[in-house]
């Protein structure tokens, strides 16, 4: 299945020459008239992207206002960079920034390589049946939303679950792993690995299946055992994909799972679970500090966009292709 997929992908971008010769010769106006159906098709989508994706961009101007819902957008006074200076002297914001960076770092260190290791391990299985069985198990958690995932984790690791009674019988007392701020960083990382490790293997499987079988044969003839074939053939074969994904991942360091952290903040406290997104939510929607919260969001958004674009540029320069 994956082999077919890769072949599929290789031809994906080729432009279809449909109808272009006759269309070119006609004038623009008559082309527009003739293609009126095509414009009709995209009207609902264009309306959506304008209203729900582009209009809110201008809403970010609230970051430069002392916004009050009673005055509305126009009547609220401009305050320049006041919200940003407030933001950077706010200890809670600095905690959120620190937590975001820490959680991101942990995910890059552990959640990023996990699918590579799993893909290599599964790839070394000879039985196709066993491989497929494991795949269908490990892909599953990706499709559950964070509410379901946290509910399940709480059931197993929470105060009344089997983990607590196991720890208790080992003499650790009745410990609730889900409410411990000291181990929260590890917990959050483990949750991400559990939920996404299987899903993450898909792209590596595709890359592995694109490696020509002859290379394995040649390596085997030269006396390389299966571990050395993995080390000298498989890993170099997918290193491009690894580098590309790593660079792109670096571009999203400021985005850590909003839902995942919001859901657990009551249990572990904001000292450990406050990140940029939850800060914005609590200060703005709950606390009514609209200007400050928007400034936090804009700060995150601008840095995020700059990072993604530069990450892509770096990916292109390293010869890994880039996404756009």
């Amino acid at each position: 299945m994956t082999v077919a997929t890769t072949r599929h992908t290789a031809t994906a971008g080729t432009p279809s020459p449909t109808d272009s010769r006759s269309a070119r010769s006609a004038g623009t106006v008559s082309r527009i008239l003739r293609e009126r159906w095509m414009y009709l098709f995209i009207v609902p989508g264009v309306a959506y992207f304008v209203i729900f994706q582009y209009v809110p961009l201008f809403g970010n101007l609230v970051a430069f206002k002392n916004y009050s819902p009673f005055l509305g957008f126009n009547a609220s006074p401009w305050v320049g960079l006041q919200n940003f200076t407030d933001l950077f002297s706010d200890p809670e914001f600095l905690t959120a920034l620190k937590n975001t960076a820490l959680i991101s770092l942990m995910q890059i260190l552990f959640a990023f390589p996990a699918p590579i290791a799993l893909a290599l391990m599964l790839n070394s299985l000879i039985s196709e049946k066993a491989k497929r069985l494991v795949q269908s198990v490990v892909y599953l958690p990706h499709f559950f939303g964070w509410v379901i995932v946290i509910s399940i984790w709480q059931a197993v690791l929470g105060g009344v679950g089997p983990m607590a009674s196991l720890l208790n019988s080992l003499g650790h007392g009745h410990e609730n792993v889900m409410a411990d701020p000291h181990t929260f960083l590890a917990l959050v990382t483990a949750q991400v690995v559990w939920k996404e490790v299987g899903w993450g293997t898909i792209i590596f499987f595709a890359a592995i299946s694109a490696i020509p079988v002859e290379r394995y044969e040649a390596a085997a003839v030269d006396g390389a055992n299966s571990f050395r074939r993995m080390w000298h053939v498989t890993l170099p074969g997918i290193s491009n994909v690894i580098v590309l994904l790593l660079i792109l991942r670096l571009g999203t360091v400021l985005s850590v799972g909003f839902e995942q952290l919001l859901l657990q903040q009551d249990a572990v406290g904001s000292g450990a679970a406050e990140v940029l997104d939850t800060f914005g939510y609590y200060r703005g929607v709950i606390g009514g500090q609209w200007g400050l919260a928007t400034a936090a969001g804009l700060f995150k958004g601008v840095i995020g966009t700059v990072l993604v674009i530069s990450a892509n540029r770096i990916a292109k320069r390293t010869g890994s292709g880039g996404l756009f």
Binding site: T18, D19, M38, Y39, Y48, I148, W290
Partner: protein, 297 residues
């Protein structure tokens, strides 16, 4: 390559290696599946006061927890809301995404559509932030409306690209002969393109549906009225935050004596089942759909 089993150049692995692999794989499968098994088992554990005991799984089984949650209206109502939002949302998402994917599939012929395509792709690079979205929904008067669960994510650029790539791979001859026969673009879309794309349409629809079903963020942000809550918000309130469902006037469990944890796990199971039902269909196709979109934008 390995449908025929082990290729001749590959040695049979030695038994220690095989055993080690077996243990690692068994461990992974256990860690992935045990939580689900535990949740399901607990939901059926019924009327005991200490549900989990010291073992891995409970010992007594009954349907009491399910009777309790379905005798009240909180869970049932939220399920209906989630189902409704998922169905309406997915239908709307598909109409918009298909229209856009096809309408933008011939950027060389249709003036202006290349610009639209880039404008749509650009939305993958930025996020507009929580507060601006909230203020937008507020000024549109959609707070506390079910539309606030559907409209903010009704289309996404990634799914549009997946469909568009697929549409563009349909052989051009099919379109040309239909046009010579005088077919309109509407006829070409509905009689040729869509029937040829059933598999990828199914995958994209399922991805949208799973997204609507799992959505927690929009509901939390935009719905104040707890009688409009979808199942994920009910889960958050009664399972993660442990509020007692009894107090919400939900199950009449006065004489049932169902353990709170058992009821909570029953709610988790009910929220999970729809995904488990569509999962086999999803799994059959998703690698293809994911990759065509992910590699080439």
């Amino acid at each position: 390559m390995s449908a025929i089993g082990r290729p001749p150049w590959q040695n049979r692995p030695t038994w220690p290696v095989q055993t080690l692999k077996g243990i690692v794989i068994a461990g992974i499968v256990f860690v992935m599946l045990y939580p689900f098994v535990y949740v399901v088992a607990t939901s059926f554990s019924g009327d005991t006061t200490s549900v989990s005991g010291n073992g891995l799984l409970p010992t007594h089984y009954s349907f009491a927890a399910y009777k309790a949650i379905f005798s009240g209206n909180v869970v049932l109502r939220s399920l209906m809301i989630s189902i409704g939002v998922t169905l309406v949302g997915t239908a709307l998402s598909m109409i918009i995404t298909i229209g856009m994917a096809y309408g933008l599939s011939r950027t060389r012929d249709v003036p202006g559509t290349r610009f639209v395509l880039y404008a749509v792709l650009a939305t993958m690079l930025f996020t507009s932030g929580i507060i601006p979205n909230y203020l937008l929904m507020k000024s549109l008067g959609l707070l506390n409306s079910y539309w606030s669960l559907i409209l903010p994510g009704v289309a996404n650029a990634f799914n549009m690209v997946v469909l568009r790539n697929f549409f563009m791979e349909i052989p051009a001859d099919l379109f040309d002969s239909a046009r010579i026969d005088g077919a309109s673009e509407w006829q070409i879309l509905t009689r040729i393109v869509l029937p040829l794309s059933k598999a990828v349409l199914a995958v994209v629809a399922l991805f949208y549906a799973v997204g609507y079903w799992n959505d927690f963020f929009n509901a939390l942000l935009y719905l104040n009225d707890s009688t409009k809550w979808p199942i994920q918000l009910v889960l958050n309130q009664y399972v993660i935050h442990g509020q007692n469902l009894d107090q919400a006037g939900a199950p009449a469990s006065g004489q049932l004596r169902v353990a709170a944890q058992s009821i909570q796990m029953a709610v988790v199971v009910v929220a999970t089942v729809p995904i488990l039902v569509v999962y086999p269909f999803l799994q059959r196709y998703f690698t293809k759909g994911v990759l065509t979109g992910a590699i080439k934008g």
